[in-house]
């Protein structure tokens, strides 16, 4: 069935350390994945995306890794800052749709950055 799940509900890291947030998805036909950051009282903010024909994609301080063999997605944040504290969601595009189609979200991981 449809599900995108996150391994840990809360991740606590020290400021300056690297953070890794994990996500498992169930549909092997999924072809597009997105990471969103949601701060309190705000809507989800796009961080980075990756297509199924890629294994890795890098942005500014963030890297997304995709392992299709085990249906696993991860978001790495380098040199985590207090402003990175938020809930992070991975989302999967409904297979067969364009990237503007239905998104299936996981439960979210809360990232807490300790000063």
């Amino acid at each position: 069935g449809e599900s995108v799940g996150l391994h840990l509900p809360t991740l606590s890291v020290q400021e300056g350390d690297n953070s890794i947030i994990n996500c498992a998805y169930s549909n092997s036909a999924s072809d597009y994945f997105i990471w969103y950051k949601q701060e309190s009282g705000k809507g989800p903010q796009f961080i980075i995306d990756i297509r199924s024909n890629m294994d890795k994609r890098q942005g500014q301080r963030v890297t997304v890794l995709l392992n299709k063999t085990v249906k696993h997605l991860s978001l790495q944040i380098a040199a985590t800052q207090p402003g990175d504290s938020a809930v992070y969601f991975c989302a999967e595009n409904n297979p067969g749709s364009s990237n503007t189609g239905k998104l299936i979200f996981g439960q979210g991981t809360t990232l807490q950055v300790k000063p």
Binding site: K42, G43, F46, F89, S97, T100, K102, L103, F105
Partner: protein
């Protein structure tokens, strides 16, 4: 460049009432999707509008309906409100067929049902 805007930001209704939420997409976008986000959960897809028609729909009852206007803005209507409809309602916009652009979200409307 204005992002996705939603109104109102907060709304309080009672059971059985009807509500209309509004969304203006990001400039240049033509597709609007609506999501419901319960407290502590990820957003759940309600439906998507393109060219003033419902293009896709999630597992929501017919009490949830929508509309898209010629200027691409959209409304979400919910009839016969239930306590369980209390949630953050998010609007996301995108450009249909653009292979590299993800959906952009507004900050939502917080709906509370008493």
């Amino acid at each position: 460049d204005a992002g996705v805007t939603q109104s109102p930001t907060h709304l309080i209704k009672t059971r059985g009432q009807q509500v209309t939420l509004r969304c203006s997409p990001k400039s240049g976008h033509d597709t609007v999707s609506w999501y419901q986000q319960a407290l502590g959960q990820g957003p759940q897809f309600i439906f998507q509008y393109y060219e003033e028609e419902e293009r896709q729909r999630g597992n929501f009852p017919d009490r949830f309906s929508g509309h898209q206007f010629p200027n691409y803005s959209s409304e979400l209507n919910v009839n016969a409100l239930l306590l369980g409809d209390s949630a953050l309602y998010l609007c996301a916009s995108s450009l249909l067929g653009r292979g590299t652009e993800p959906q952009h979200f507004g900050d939502g409307t917080r709906l509370s049902i008493l």
